[in-house]
Point group: C2
Chain length 336, copies 2
């Protein structure tokens, strides 16, 4: 079975400002174990030869992708002329594989900006998923470890197909009570955003459910495709979706505080980057190359870059968006 | 009357780390109103021609002094080969003036690392002090505005001499109760570290009270002088000291929180340097060129330099020393 890793690296997002910027979004940040970029770590852990790795990215980020993955063949960086969310991006990759006469290959579609700490366990799930994907549309779910309200969920049915289980439906981000029910149900998995299918299959599904996207890609007018996620655009409409699941230390690094779940504390604080001096200071998340000295402060996020510093309580981590909005309002372009 | 400003710029100190470093102590930092260095602002406010300004500094800081005061004649920068505190430094300047046949000139001895916000009021006091100094040893006291335990005090007697009043004794840093008594006594002034006397007079006092210092300077072996302040070494021993006093927005910038007393708040926070974004964040003191974004934090000190960031509650401002001690213990020289 021919397997292509299709890595989605076109995302933006503001939740890791000031490290993430428009020109250098999250997937390029050195937040993976070992100091690698999230993108490079994603490529490493799929353990597929680089000629079988496609990276789909926004046109302005092609140079950054090549710098992060110097050994990747240039033709395997696929540029989206404009951002159109995941369904058109995946269809673009499928179309390219068909053009390369690899329509029968399985695509392992992987976000480029997540962390996986147990790569061996991940590869086991990856193998199960690819095997199942020879016949089916497959998604990968994560067994929930807490009543997370920030993720979508997969609701499973009873049918099984080898190691995979039937997906009854995709469910949106729940409230806290519902999320707690999901955990106790045993039927709900976090939607990890990883998908597996043959290139020709997802192309047919795109033609069926998103004909405008397929037409836009065939005509070379990508901008004419609707902007829509594969979850909404295809997976929620298609039938016969199967889920594999696993527990491989997955984290979508959705905020600075996520680092506290990924990295061990040193001297009571999680520190990525340069040195720290912490005096009566515990539970802080500290990121960036500068020396950071903390005295008598607990549970803060402190992020430094060459030109900016962010300080906020961990519990306010989502409010970094408000900072970015304020910078946009004030047209402070160099910091965006 | 010939007046020389003798500016003491040899100090070190750690209380304004990370901005102040061994190679760039506090007097070189741009903390004076208008973004000037404290040293340059000190020279500006005495309003004496530059050929009548002597700057006494540590030998390794001569270049930094010249850079800060490019119009100052090179021969007016007097280098201490080693640091010996204020009594020998002042005697060194007095000896130089005698050598220049200006022994009858009045020396206005001024620390280089203080802030004065009302320069007109300062100059009025300066004139009174210099006039009195034609005949006497003179010090300048600041009327206390709070029961400060971090300063030494002057205790006044009843005798007056023009605008000056007799100093009965110099008193050490008091405890809080004593400091409160000092305020209500009406007899106590903060010891500002400014002194006024003729060059030949202070040289005679040095010969009398610190003969080893005088001998060391005469023989060109400055290192042989004892390390002692002018307060302890001469002023507390000499008789007939007079004090002028005033209220001219004096601040010794003894910690980062002092900036909150000197500069007005913008958007609820005191900001020196680059831009800020403050969201539900008040009462913070923010220093440095980087953009600083604060969300949901109050009453912090946040100081950024190119290579280091300090975060602590304002009430812990004195504990920056503990950070510096830790850096010394870990031999992190580049940050010292």
């Amino acid at each position: 079975m021919d397997i292509y890793a299709v890595i989605l690296a076109g995302g933006g997002g503001t939740r890791l400002w000031p490290s993430s910027r428009r020109k250098r979004p999250k997937q390029f940040l050195p937040l993976a174990p070992g100091g690698r970029s999230l993108l490079a770590a994603t490529v490493d852990r799929v353990a597929v030869p680089l000629d079988h790795v496609l990276v789909v990215t926004a046109a302005p980020q092609v140079a950054e992708v090549r710098a992060a993955l110097p050994a990747l063949p240039a033709k395997n960086v696929i540029a989206e002329p404009v951002a159109r969310n995941t369904a058109p991006a995946i269809a673009l990759a499928a179309h390219e594989l068909i053009r390369r006469e690899a329509g029968d290959a399985v695509m392992a579609v992987l976000p480029s900006d997540h962390v996986v700490t147990d790569e061996a366990a991940f590869r086991e799930v990856l193998e199960q998923a690819c095997a199942t994907a020879a016949q089916h549309l497959v998604t990968c779910g994560i067994r929930p470890s807490r009543p997370e309200t920030g993720y979508g969920y997969l609701e499973l049915g009873d049918a099984t197909e080898g190691p995979a289980r039937e997906v009854r439906r995709f469910v949106e981000k729940p409230d806290r009570v519902t999320a707690a029910q999901y955990i106790s149900s045993g039927r709900h998995l976090w939607n990890s955003g990883m998908f597996f299918f043959r290139a020709d299959r997802i192309w047919r599904e795109t033609q069926k459910h998103l004909p405008e996207a397929a037409k836009a890609i065939e005509s070379g007018n990508y901008a004419a495709a609707p902007s829509i996620s594969i979850d909404y655009g295809i997976m929620e409409k298609a039938s016969g979706i199967w889920a594999v699941s696993g527990d491989f230390g997955w984290n979508d690094v959705g905020s600075w505080t996520a680092l506290a779940d990924i990295f061990p504390a040193q001297d009571g604080n999680v520190r990525l980057g340069g040195p720290q001096v912490a005096i009566e200071a515990k539970g802080n998340v500290i990121v960036g190359d500068a020396l950071v000295a903390l005295v008598g402060v607990d549970d803060l996020v402190v992020v430094t870059t060459g030109d900016a510093v962010l300080v906020m309580p961990k519990e306010r981590a989502q409010d970094v968006r408000a900072v970015v909005q304020e910078l946009e309002r004030r047209k402070m372009e160099p910091y965006l």
